[in-house]
Symmetry: D2
Subunit: 362 residues, 4 copies
Amino acid sequence: MKNTFGSSVALTIFGESHGQAIGAVLDGLASGIPIDENFIEKQMNLRRAVGKLSTARQEADKVKILSGVFNGKTTGTPITFMIENQDTRSRDYGELAYKARPAHADFPAQMKYHGFQDFRGGGHFSGRITAGIVAAGAVAINALACKGIKIGTHILSCGGVYDRNFIDIENDIDTLNNLDFAVLDTDKAEEMKSVISSAKSEGDSVGGRLETAVVGFPAGVGEPWFDTLEGVLSHALFSIPAVKGVEFGSGFACADKKGSENNDAYFSENGRVFTETNNAGGIIGGISNGMPIVFRCAVKPTPSIYKTQQTIDLNTFEETSLQIQGRHDPAIIHRARVVADSITALVLCDQLALRYGTDWLA
Amino acid sequence: MKNTFGSSVALTIFGESHGQAIGAVLDGLASGIPIDENFIEKQMNLRRAVGKLSTARQEADKVKILSGVFNGKTTGTPITFMIENQDTRSRDYGELAYKARPAHADFPAQMKYHGFQDFRGGGHFSGRITAGIVAAGAVAINALACKGIKIGTHILSCGGVYDRNFIDIENDIDTLNNLDFAVLDTDKAEEMKSVISSAKSEGDSVGGRLETAVVGFPAGVGEPWFDTLEGVLSHALFSIPAVKGVEFGSGFACADKKGSENNDAYFSENGRVFTETNNAGGIIGGISNGMPIVFRCAVKPTPSIYKTQQTIDLNTFEETSLQIQGRHDPAIIHRARVVADSITALVLCDQLALRYGTDWLA
Amino acid sequence: MKNTFGSSVALTIFGESHGQAIGAVLDGLASGIPIDENFIEKQMNLRRAVGKLSTARQEADKVKILSGVFNGKTTGTPITFMIENQDTRSRDYGELAYKARPAHADFPAQMKYHGFQDFRGGGHFSGRITAGIVAAGAVAINALACKGIKIGTHILSCGGVYDRNFIDIENDIDTLNNLDFAVLDTDKAEEMKSVISSAKSEGDSVGGRLETAVVGFPAGVGEPWFDTLEGVLSHALFSIPAVKGVEFGSGFACADKKGSENNDAYFSENGRVFTETNNAGGIIGGISNGMPIVFRCAVKPTPSIYKTQQTIDLNTFEETSLQIQGRHDPAIIHRARVVADSITALVLCDQLALRYGTDWLA
Amino acid sequence: MKNTFGSSVALTIFGESHGQAIGAVLDGLASGIPIDENFIEKQMNLRRAVGKLSTARQEADKVKILSGVFNGKTTGTPITFMIENQDTRSRDYGELAYKARPAHADFPAQMKYHGFQDFRGGGHFSGRITAGIVAAGAVAINALACKGIKIGTHILSCGGVYDRNFIDIENDIDTLNNLDFAVLDTDKAEEMKSVISSAKSEGDSVGGRLETAVVGFPAGVGEPWFDTLEGVLSHALFSIPAVKGVEFGSGFACADKKGSENNDAYFSENGRVFTETNNAGGIIGGISNGMPIVFRCAVKPTPSIYKTQQTIDLNTFEETSLQIQGRHDPAIIHRARVVADSITALVLCDQLALRYGTDWLA
């Protein structure tokens, strides 16, 4: 299974950056979920993040729903989202057609697809393919909301500038979901933007960390081995282009803690069980414990930079140098954030359907 | 798919800590691979790691191969590894039968299995279940070795003490695979051991970081989305009990770098392509680029500690306190290392079989 | 996995009869396969089978390829086929909106989708959805042809009239693939057509048997258990709407034979192994033996008939009667034949990719 | 996935006829199901069917449960069934080691496993491997019984002798489940036995048809495409060694019927919906309609016969002849019947878990 992910609720994605269209097929979601086209559009806009920090193509990213919706509600059969590419004119790609851009997939793609891959604009490797994930994710986010489950992601760090941590998670999620630039501390948001602008003016780029939280997710979902909640979530999260690390709860920092510091003590209130701290990030033994699910993704700096780079010719493997032209994103982390929310929602819908059946929303 | 992982080469695991037996079924490996029972035993011993740093049960962990091997070679049909539990006598588990141990899976297990789970010694959640993974992994490691692919893991940090980084990776792997306590810098090994001993004497525990490297893996294996090499590896690695983070290449540190620092410049030598640095950890766009695959896992401190902890009763959810008795491991990272190697080998065998077919070893 | 089938080569289908569009995403096919749009169109026309025996909608069924093809060849990434529905105007479905048509999926759909399903024209259950399978199948058929593998299906029986059996299978396949009405014996073709016409004039319908043969498929592909070639093929073939039985080789007739009659004796010629008879239908122990793969599908008579039928109201479950109006197909077997070829091709591409790797075509 | 079948409830099988042990791992079944070891033993005995009609090895087929059961109930984690082979002494297999037995898997196995397969007694292809399926199936049958779902299979025909059809299905199932030789009409049972005895005395063998019925299965389970109930059931049923055809409801006979004859009219009683006839075999559009699920499997005559047969040498492919010695089964259909029940139960448990969640039994 290559471009399909999920078991009971599964997403299939398709498309190339400069092909006819990109999109996704979302299968297995329960019938009867209302489709909120405004919310889909809002999420699509967060991903496009048009503005001076991004050089997204000025395309409307209009989502057409081809199937699976009837009278404004899901039918229970595959929902197909299509976004037509408007900017697909043939042009001269020059040396980008045969020189491997460092940190881009050009070289491994050549080794896998033997030169038949569509190289234009990154082809099937383009971050643009996440548009289909975001469209499908919007429906998944709405489905979870019907069960009181909320997801939010903030830019924990960008170019070395750190946002504050989650405090009151549910409130913080609500705040984030109303922000275009998802940073909880307004001052830090401005600092990050200025770091991104400087990188841009230097022809360079910056990376960062995303932190995602989920509240309202029930205890007892997940598996002890292999399909641990961490395993399944990370599997999907590493599809976000540029993600190179995923950690849950106290994450890598737990490695330097003592057991007595890292163990989360239990307490109960009104018949519900909680932990005093949440170093586990809501998951123990691969299974949810009812506390907020919290994880972080490391996002590498955008590989497209203006500086001259040493590389090889894709056909001859001879050494050469490359100086990328044209527009590029000095950062993608503010755009990746909605992709993290979307993938999380899709994975959690699948987990709930596996645990509670295909009518889990009823 | 719960206790089964992999597609063309798949592993199914079973067992409980104090049940009749634990084990694994390894399916889809090519026929004709020699089975080296000494190597299996060596790997099993690394996992047991009997000594004063561990309190592993003094069981021989004798692996019986029930199927899939004929005349000392794999037949191509499922290979079943069984390790009988010797220490399965009924005894009084006292409060452990109904009190949730913090940072153990007791509470989420209760929510998932409704009290029918085998709680003795952690049951199916026990680290002991990794014995089956290690037995199967030994065969996978040997299979990869036939193609010149080597895997090694060192304890990058333990209780705040750091080993040196990989330098000459292939040599370092050879060194590691001859060490019981997998640390490249001998002085640091001693320091780590003494940190573990102190934790033990305090009734506490420590965590750490594992760093794994793979050399000889071909370029062009993996998928751009969902089944990215990072995604598939992390999915499996989060099954190692106590792992709470996985990062590839420069990992979380890439978040603070500029593109010009993190991009790996290409060069070629004798018709093969290399990168100057390996911030990508051997994987770009989800696909191997022929450089060493390098990743790190965060291992949380062992949850079993002697200190009194606040918790809840599993049946009534009422608050109570718990003071764990008996032997416990003050650290598991030195034992987890061979599990990391094993899981990595199993995932890579699957990836190679998917890419090159079931006779990929021929 | 619901609307996705296959492992290394996988097909995802979507759409409803009167929705915006129907289609399919074909993932995992090797890169570099030439796309023959004329052949796709030819196959689409076989499925539409416009003429007096069918009442197919007079739609062009124009296939748009949205992704996965670049410079006329497959890229190795998902190929998306979209067929826009032209006839999607809102209209009054009258009693069809709430009365269960016997032998149609209306009632089970109601029990599964709780009334949210798109009932118009059968919605996602419509035979029209096979158009996406046929488009994708055309590419798979071409891929197999590059390796000398040919597939052909004839109408073995229709309304009680039987075609002759396969004689020289490869020649027969070539003949069939040039026929609109796939019957080897021309006289029998005419008889079948007249049986269909009579059924039509009576407001009734007829069923039949399809027989498919594959030549050139290598020995040693398939699995002994579960993913037997028979198991995987039948799994997919039962997706052809109206198929209620699948048999391989001598099939159900083998039940009345003696072992001495049914066993296929081996012989060899120029270092290749053959069997004198082919009661096995090319598959023994779940694995191909290099002989032609031969199987038959039972196709039930089209459920839409003009006669008044007893049924229930989908909402109240009260008994009522129904008299279906409008156009209907008195037989679909002549149209289903190209679906059988397509599904067979898709399954076999997947099997070859699993066995020989993703570059199996090279 | 080769020796693993199922999604939420999955079975993995292992072993060779003359290896150390055979068995199965059943994963995903809900916790809390009582394990009835007597029923497991009863089912194992039905499969062994020791008597003058069979030449089953005189082994006790004692099932050891290695994991997944605690205090007599399922824990929710993998249940491992192991049956040790007692008769595994080394002996001289003579020409069976290198001559392909017609209609056995020897030749395709050679093409797939390159001579490394365990050829002794059929190795992994042996019907003996079904013992693991039957052990696991017994637990699945019990689980379904908790929800009022019953399964029964009779020998519809054997060597040309036909049993009567199902009349009162639930009663017939109860009757069958108390019979060693599962034939509803006692006279026909005697006739079948005598046909089998004659075949034996001629050194020949006979095949037959199995007919399975399931009552109590709810409406609304299954999928419209690919994972149709027919597709999933047939996929698994073709794993029963010797099965060459599967048909549902009126099956192949529907091909000769008119729509007006084959459509099942609906009626309702006390708010439940039924059909007057059951030509659909309980499945329409891939989804259950609440009527009994009914299907038939064609079982080919046992390939091992005493007559001299023409074959090839597995290594040289040169022609030779073979005369099989020793004990053999002149029929296996009376033993295959419990395998059909077992596979059906496992598939249906999986379907119910997918539809209603992992606690579907609660």
